[in-house]
Structures are given as C-alpha cells and as structure tokens.
C-alpha cells in the first residue's frame, strides 16, 4: 500500500497499555442503569417535551428538509411560469410572492437552520460529549423555527406573503409603496426566526469551547466542528445587522420614524448597508459549514487524513473574517465612490484564495487516498465541479465593470445558485447519505443514490449553466414574464426542464428516505465507511457509555478498539455522579477535564414557549398589540419556568471520574458554561448596538448640515450628566448586591435589586425626557428617530433587567442563591454592567457628537 500524507504517523501512534485506561473493568453492577435512568426519553406524545440533541437534531433536519421541498416547489412553479414567453399561468402578484418566498425560505428557513440542525445532531458525538450545554435552548430554538417557518409559508395561501424580494429594499418595502401586511410578515416572521439562529449559535460556540472529549486539543478538533464554530461566530456578528434593519423598517412602517425616507433625512442606502452587512456573510455562513462537512466526509471516503488540515482551518477562519468586508459588492450599481469600490473589489477577490486553499486541499486528499465512489463521494465530486464554477463566476462579478453589466440579471442568478446549490446543497446531500447510518437501522440505497445524484447534477447544470447565457442576453432577475420578441424562450425552457430534473431527484431521495429510515440510537447501520471520527462510535441516548480520551484527529483510525473500550466503560465518567444528565466540561484550548456539568432534561417549557412566541409575533404582524403582549408575557413566563430548575448548585462534593481525576459538579464565574453563554449573548447585543451606532453616523453623513436639523435645540449638558450618573449608580448597586450574596439572610439583596432597577429606569427616563422637553419628536427627521431609538433600546434592556432582577430575587428568596450557587446572579450582573456601559456610550454619542461638530 502506498501511504502518502501523514496517515502513517496517525496509524503508528503509540498503543495504550491495557492498564492505562482511566477506569477498571468490569464496572460495578447498577452503574449503567443509573447512567441510563435520567436519559430515558419521554414516551408517546410527551416526546414533544424532549430536549435531547438527537431528537431535536433529527426533527430539526426533517423540518429543514420539508422547508427545502416547499421552497423548491415554489421554484418549480416559477420555472413553469417562465418556461415560455408571455405566459399567463401565474400572475405578477403571485409570482412576486413566489420569488420573495423562495429566496427568503431557502436562505433563512432552510440553509441556516439545516446546518444548525446537523450541528445539534452531530456535534455532541463528533466532540465526544453526551450533550451540548443548553439543550432546552436548542429545543426552544427548534420549536420557534418549526412553528415560525410553517406559519410563514402558509401566508402564501392567504395572499399575504411578502412580495418585495428577500432583500426588502426600501422604499419599495415601506408603508407608502407596500401598505399591506405582506412586508410585516417578512419583517416580523423572519425577524423572530433569527432568534432561533442566534440561540443555536450560542449553543454551538459554548459547546465547541467547553464540551470536547478529553485530549481533543485545539489541533485535534475535526474540521466539521471548526466550521460550525466559525459559522456560529459569524451568526453572532452578522445577524444583529439584519435584526436592527428589520426593527428600523418595522418602526418606520408602524410608527413613521424616518430612517430610510429620503425626504425626512433618512436614506434607502442605509437599509442596503445593514442588509448586506448581514447578507454577504450569510453566503459564507451557509457555505462554511458545508465546507466543514466536505472536509469531514472526504477523508473517510478517500480513507486518508485530510491533507493540509491546518491550512483548511486557517482558510475557514480567513473566509469568515474577510466575508465581513465584502458587503458593498452587492451595491456596485448604487453609484458609490470609485475608491471604495476598488477596496471591496479586492476584498471580494481575496475570498477566492480562501476557497482555493480548500478546493486544492480536497483534491490533494483525494489524491492521497483512494476515493470510494459511493453516493456521498459522488455528491462531493459534483460539489467540487459546481463550486469551482461558481467560484470563478464569483471572481467575475467581483470585478466592478463586469458586475455593472450582469448585476441583477440571470447571470447573477446562475452564479449564486452555483455557489449555494453547488456549495451548500450538494454537500448537505452528501452529508445525508454519509451520516444516515449513524441514526438509521437501514442505509439508503446505493442504486437509487446514483440516480438521485445523476438527476440532480445534470438538472442543476441544465438549469443554471443556461442562466449565465440568459443573463448575458439581457434578461433581468425578478421578472414574472418576458416578451417573446426578446428570444429568451429557448434558454428558459432548458432551465425549466433542468428544474424538473432536480425536483425528480429530490422526490426520489424522499421516497428512499421514507422507505429505509428506521430510527435507532445504538442499533444502527454503523461505521460502513470506516471513518475515523468519534460520531461513529456506539452511542445511546446518553452518547457513549464512557467519555473517550482522544489522542489524534482520527481517533478511530489510530485506535480501532476505541469504540469497544469506550462501550465497556473503560474511559471517563462511565456512570453518573449526581443522578442527573451530565456532561464533561473540558478546558477550551487543551481539553483537560474541568468539571462535570449537570445537563437539563425534558421539559414542556421549550415547546410551549415556542408556541407562545410564534403567536406573539404573528399577532404583532396583525397589529393586535394587546393580545400580543399577553402571549409575549406567557412566553417569558414559560421560559422562566424551565430556567427555574437549572442552576442546581454543588449538589455533592467533587468526585472521581476515572484516571485519578476528581472533578466538581458545579462551578461559577468565568469557567462556567452559562457564563460563556451570557457573554456570547452580550457579543450579539454589542454587535447590534455597534450597527446602531454605525447607522447614526451614516445618517449624519447623509445630513452633514442638519445634524441636528434646523430648529432643534439640544438639551443642556446637565441632562446627560445626570443620566450617566444614574446609570453608573445602578451598576454600583448591583456590584454591592454581589457582595451581599455572602449574607443571604441580611436582606440587602432584596433592597439593592429594586434600587438598581429604579436607578436604571430613572436613567432611561432622564435620557428620553431630556430630548422630549426640547420639543424634538421622533417622526420629523431621521435625527430625532435615531436619538429616540437609542433611548428605546435602553428601555428594552431595562425591561430585560426587570425580568432578570425579579428572577434573581425570587431565587434568593427561595434559598436557591448564595455565595457559591450564584450563576443566576452572575448572568444578571453581566447583563447589567453591559446595559450600563451601553447607556453611557449612547448618552455620550447623542449629547456630545453633534456638539463636537459645532
């Protein structure tokens, strides 16, 4: 056998002597039963309260596939309408809803969620942990996604589906040009599903950092997990821009605060900047996890380690960073200055390097091993071809002059479908075939698989290659029909035919899934690809019997016995310490065991709160504010209900988990997973606030001579000084509350929290009233709208603090909070200090910046 690459090293890694296992066998009787008990899944209809990653992950993937099919059906309808010129099958009103819904659903409701779904399903097993840190949060995210996206789809049947494009450009989407509720459906319907994406991202980031198998140091983490981390971080920084944009637009529509109306000092380009600051990273948010899948599947299919592992990880990180500097390449035709276009053009092209590294690493990996041409490998080869093509047209459209011709034509439609269908859907199909054996008792048919691949691959190219030409022949995007005299008929007919082939391929796949899928945890097809990563070990509801120790990137290749040994309980934590669900937390860099985390189990909260949240947002869409508020309160109450029985505290003393390691079952402070989760949430909030500050300065640049507009006088500096002092005082009160935790009986906490709340409320009040008393109103000019938005955001944070303060005090009164068991307090404190800092910055900008301008 010719051995190339570094597999030889992996294969000859040191054999572990039999007596060096962390735990002895045989394991004591009853240990397995105790481990199993808390993980028993709910039965029957109670399954809706399940939060285990495998159940949620599978339901998540299934929902994602349903959305994919529904959005695909919309595409087939559009292709049917466009098959012939001047076709009157579908009228303009429905067609405009179809393309808006197709894009929106594919981008927001299929691509991002299905990737998160794969992460929820596979990450714990790939990392070698029993569960990710926040299973109930994941379950909640899944439910709002499932209810929200189905409700969103059904708007089509009532003719109220959004019809202003997935990009919702103002002013077309504002109240003057889209007076119906269609646009609100988009803003609220999609806006809240982003909550699910962010919740999933927090779960992935903290899971990646904290719940890896011992020994899975930073250099041994599978590329899949790296890709998921970068994906999640990108969501944290990109989605806030979109959320801010949708909030601004909804406020403009509902209350008339001008952010985008040109005649009142707003600017439609602000929407475009916010949208594409999210929208461009979005493309990579979709592609990066798919690339991670390819980097994980390919080594198994080629029976060799990934060549250039570190280069690939670096390329993924680079891609994630650069993708935030490209958004303007969607705006070449808006008439921006030439210099900035040059910068963005260069940045756009440089992404090609990060893609190139990966493409050639994959080719090198294939060359290093021997590719088994089974269905997953076919999809990956197809992916390499299609994605390369999409990458090359991507370099083309990065060139400013060329883009000015093809922008918003079918050439661009062809380009991004090559990138997205090629770069994301093909890898996801590969992933379905590849990982199917980990959850099913029967594998998908190889014969059918070849047909699925063949039909899909040929259909894809027939549809989209043709569109390059259609675009060059002058056909713009988003048109419900075209004149026969333009001679685009033949090209369109080919595209339509190709779309039918793709639809047939998906139908065939669904048929095969229905035929073969038999869910099981442990009695699955198993490792038919002879893969080397941990998700191929024998698993149960609780993951593996014991937590394996990892000494390479492909633990099952360096140690084929690992699965059996783990299953015998020879490794860490073969039982339970607390009698609850548990997972092992390891250190972020070198993955040393740190503590045993108590993992929450099944609960009705996530499911019910998911329903209440969905109702809340849809009632808001219909402007039924009071009923909406009611369901909003119910949703918050349900969330608090499930959070109430977390934070168990140190229920027992530190205990042995094997290998001489004695670990605590509870920690607080910066080691705790919940602390990490809160900090990640604050990053989201910080990114949101940064986008708001950007918007403020952007609108100033649009109105350099009227900031504030003529006739508006600014409040005297005493006002902001008072507001700042009040903010600082409220944080100080919380600081002292932290000290008082050591003396729970003193009652100081019950005094300090309300005081802090009052101080914060007073600060917000002063901040807002100081502007109001000058006569400034939010509806007259974008200046006022921005000023009051800063205040409104502080008010919102105050509301969150109110809930968290009440919750923390309740825990204290219930005796569930003290100097040791203090995670609840710590999280509240983190948010509090953040809210104060944000308030100080907001007050500073609003009161000082216009003065600095003179």
């Amino acid at each position: 056998m010719t051995v190339v690459g570094d597999r030889s090293e992996e294969r000859t890694a040191e054999r572990k002597p039999a007596n060096r296992f962390p735990n002895e066998v045989p394991r004591p009787e009853g240990e397995l039963n105790e481990l199993r008990k808390p993980w028993v899944p709910p039965r029957g209809w109670r399954i809706l309260s399940a939060v285990n990653n495998t159940y949620v992950g599978l339901a998540y993937i299934a929902t994602g596939l349903i959305i994919f099919i529904l959005a695909g059906v919309l595409a087939v309808l559009m292709r049917t309408q466009l098959a012939t010129p001047e076709n009157d099958l579908i009228d303009y009103a429905l067609y405009n809803q179809l393309f808006t819904m197709h894009g929106t659903m594919m981008m927001f409701l299929f691509a991002v969620p299905i990737v998160e779904a794969f992460a929820v399903l596979l990450m714990p097993n790939i990392l070698g942990t029993r569960e990710l840190p926040f299973p109930r949060l994941s379950a909640y995210a899944f439910w709002i996604y499932a209810f929200g996206s189905l409700a969103f789809f059904f708007t089509l049947f009532f003719g109220v589906a959004p019809d202003t494009g997935w990009f919702m450009y103002t002013p077309l989407s504002d109240a003057r040009y889209s007076p119906g509720i269609n646009a609100d459906m988009w803003l609220l319907g999609i806006g809240f599903i982003e909550i699910a994406a962010i919740a999933g991202a927090i779960e992935i980031i903290v899971g990646f950092a904290k719940t890896r198998a011992p020994g899975m140091s930073i250099d041994r983490i599978p590329v899949f997990a790296w890709a998921m981390l970068i994906f999640a971080l990108m969501i944290v920084f990109a989605f806030p821009a979109l959320i801010l944009g949708t909030i601004l637009l909804e406020i403009e529509r509902a209350l008339g605060w001008p952010f985008f109306m040109a005649e009142k000092g707003g600017d439609p380009l602000l929407w475009q900047h916010l949208f594409w600051f999210f929208g461009h990273p979005e493309v990579y948010i979709i592609f990066i996890p798919a690339a991670g899948m390819v980097s994980t599947i390919l080594p198994a299919m080629a029976a060799t380690p990934l060549v250039g592992h570190r280069l690939v990880v670096l390329a993924l990180i680079t891609m994630g960073v650069i993708s935030f500097g490209l958004w303007v390449h969607h705006m070449y035709a808006t008439g921006l200055p030439q210099l900035s276009l040059g910068f963005f053009s260069a940045a756009s092209m440089s992404v090609a390097i990060a893609s190139g590294i990966q493409v050639f690493a994959w080719i090198a990996t294939i060359a290093s091993g021997r590719l088994k041409l089974k269905t997953p490998a076919l999809f990956i080869v197809g992916f390499l071809i299609v994605f390369t093509m999409g990458g090359l047209t991507g370099v083309m459209v990065a060139s400013v002059p060329f883009d000015l011709q093809v922008h918003d034509t079918y050439f661009v439609v062809a380009h991004f479908h090559y990138v997205l269908v090629g770069g994301m859907v093909l890898p996801v199909l590969a992933a379905i075939y590849y990982w199917y054996p980990t959850v099913s008792q029967k594998q998908l048919s190889e014969r059918v698989g070849r047909w699925v691949f063949g039909l899909f691959f040929i259909g894809l190219n027939a549809t989209f290659f043709t569109m390059h030409i259609t675009g060059l022949m002058g056909m713009p995007r988003r048109v419900y029909t075209y004149l026969a005299v333009m001679d685009w008929g033949a090209l369109n007919l080919i595209s339509t035919f190709g779309a039918y082939m793709m639809a047939a391929a998906i139908a065939l796949l669904v048929f095969d899934i229905v035929r073969t899928f038999r869910f099981s945890f442990s009695d699955t097809v198993g490792n038919i690809w002879d893969a080397g990563t941990l998700e191929w070990m024998r698993t149960y509801t609780y993951g593996t019997r014991s937590i394996p120790e990892v000494d390479s990137r492909y633990p099952l290749w360096t140690r084929p016995e690992l699965s059996d040994e783990t299953d015998e309980g020879r490794y860490y934590l073969p039982g339970t310490l607390t009698g609850r669900r548990e997972a092992l937390v390891t250190s972020p860099i070198d993955a040393r065991p740190v503590y045993v985390m108590q993992v929450p189990g099944p609960h009705w909260g996530p499911f019910l709160a998911g329903i209440a949240t969905t109702i809340f947002f849809y009632l808001l869409t219909f402007k039924l504010v009071l009923p909406a508020v009611f369901f909003g309160v119910v949703a918050v109450a349900l969330i608090l209900w499930w959070v109430w029985d977390l934070d168990h505290g140190p229920v027992r003393r530190p205990a042995h988990i094997g290998g001489g390691l004695v670990l605590p079952v509870y920690t607080s402070g910066s080691v705790n997973h919940s602390w990490w989760g809160t900090v990640t949430l604050l990053l989201v909030q910080g990114a949101f606030f940064t986008c708001l500050v950007f918007s403020y300065f952007f609108l100033w640049l649009v109105n350099p001579h009227s900031w504030p507009p003529p006739g508006v006088s600014m409040p005297s500096l005493a006002w902001p000084a008072v507001a700042a002092a009040l903010y600082a005082a409220s944080s100080a009160a919380i600081f002292f509350a932290g000290r008082a935790l050591a003396r729970p009986s003193s009652g100081a906490l019950q005094l300090l929290f309300p005081s802090a709340l009052l101080l914060f409320a007073a600060a917000v009040g002063v901040q807002v009233y100081s502007e109001w008393q000058t006569g400034l109103r939010p509806t007259q000019h974008s200046y006022g709208a921005m000023v009051y938005l800063f205040g409104a955001l502080q008010g919102f944070l105050g509301g969150v603090l109110l809930v968290m303060a009440g919750f923390t005090m309740a825990r204290s009164l219930a005796g569930k909070l003290d100097a040791v068991r203090r995670v609840t307090f710590d999280n509240t404190m983190l948010l509090w200090h953040y809210a104060t800092a944000q308030g100080l910055v907001a007050v500073g900008i609003v009161s000082l910046f216009p003065r600095a301008l003179g």
Partner: protein, 333 residues
Amino acid sequence: MQRRVPDLLPPLASGAGCLLLTGCNWSQSVLAPRGSHAEAIDGILRVLFIGGALIFSLVAVLLATAILLRPSLRAWMASNNFIIGFGIVFPVITLMALLTFSSVVSRTMNGISDPKIRIEVIGEQFWWRVNYLDGQGNPALATANEIRIPVNTPVEFILKTQDVIHSFWVPSLAGKLDMIPGRTNRYTFAATSPGVYRGQCAEYCGDQHALMAFYVVAVPQADYESWFAEQVGNAAEPTTPLLRQGRDLFLAAGCGSCHTIRGTPADGTLGPDLTRVGSRLSIAAGTYPVNVGTLAGWTSSAPHLKPGNLMPSFGNLGGEQLRAIAAYMESLK
C-alpha cells in the same frame, strides 16, 4: 471600432442554447456591445471567460487525476506544497493581474466626460420620464420611454427616481446604474454605432418590474439635430375629421390632466408626455408597439394589461371613440 455582427466569443458562449434554436435578438445583450462602456467591459468579459475556462479545465484535470490515475502518478499532489502552490500562489498572482486590469478599465470608463448632451431620466413605477436639458439644466424637451442620442457623442444621463429604486441599464451601451430616492447619479457614455438598443429596469421595483423597458436610438449627429429641432415644437394639428374627433375626445375624457400634448390644453405631468407618441417605438414602457390597435387597447384597459400602473381604464368609451383617440395619438409624430 464598429463590430457589426457578434464575433467569435458570443456565439461560442451562447452556443447551442440560443443561436441554433432561434435567431437571436441582440438588442439587449451584453454580448453585442455598441457603446463606449459596453465595449470596455466586453474586453474584461473576454479575459474573464477565457481565463475562467482555463482555470476550470485545470481544476477538472487535477480532480480527474486525483480520482482516476495510479497512486504513483498522483502522489505528488498529496502535499501542503500542492495546496499552497495552486490554492495561494496561483490565485494571488492571477487575481492581482485581474484587479489591476479591472481598475484600469474602470478608470478609462470614468475618464469619459465632457458630455455634449445632458438628459435627465427619472424612473417611475413603471416607466421612464425623459427630459433633455438645456445649457442651464432646465428641461428643454420632455418625452418618455425612448431616448434618441447621436453616435460617438458622450451623453450625460442624470438619473433620479420619482418613487422607489429603479436601475437604468442599456446592456449594448453600458452597465447599469441605480436611481435612488434622495440621490442623483450621473453617468456619461457614448454609443459607437447607430442602432436601436433596448434597456430595461434592473432593480426590482414592484408589480410591473418585468414590463419596464425603454429604447435608446442612436443616430448620426445630423439626424439627431434635425430630430431634436422637430421634437421641441408643438404637436401636429389634426388634419382629418377623425383625428379632430380624437383630439376632442382626448381632451373631453380628461386625459390632459395626466398627459401633456404641447399645443393643446392637455398639460398634465403625472403620466408620459404624448406630444410625439406616434413617433415612438413603443407604449407602456417597451411593452407594445405603437399602432392604432395597441393605443386603443391600452386606452381602454391599461389596468388590465399592466396591473399596478397608474393609468385608469377608459373602457367606458365606445369602439368608435377609442379608435378616434388612438388614431389621433398615432398621428402625433
């Protein structure tokens, strides 16, 4: 400079898909450049397409090698150097070259200035208002959905919008530029051959975005001047009883509250100026040819033909009356 027939590359690129199946309409094609900008971009397009095809072939050959050849023949590929060579060094060099080339072309395109003619084009849902400006920037001639320009003369287009965002695009002459509320975009380019070029709105602008086209007619300088002199005058007086009836009906039906026909009391500005509507290539923004039939049909049922446009239905008029109005409009040359 003047390429009559699309040369080698376009037919190759569009190949079987288009030319073999139908005779092609090249009036709105990037592949048939007839303007200063479009020709410059065409140069980039050729480099991109040929380069792209070569790189794609290279990747395909490497991939096939990796899958199909004997291990000894592909062992050289399984190394970091292979990745660094093809994945970093090669793209850095090609992209630098491309970026330089691309910015040089951008600069030459922006270098075209000193326009001889200024034309304000205002996007409206879903048609194009066209104002020829005089030396002071005041409207000298109003028309709609059709722009006549002299060849080889730089023309500045001043792009604005009345409502939502539209995008001004004539592929044969130049790339697109958006029309954005609160902003004015300026764009200077020249047609290099006489001809009729079709343009179409390239930014989704609502219900009838699909039917928002226009024509640019490039003619020799002398023809342009005589055309312009003719256009600025008042509308032709109706010469037959039918046409006179048509004019009277036009005015009686209130058409003049939205449309202008210079030399008559009709002076509305909400809709397109109709002073020379009979001489134009299309009505309803590039949607229908101009003849008595289409004019009558449009007058009676515009909301049905192009739902969402502001023109109301005049279906209350009888067939005779519609014919008279249409004949009158058709005579406005």
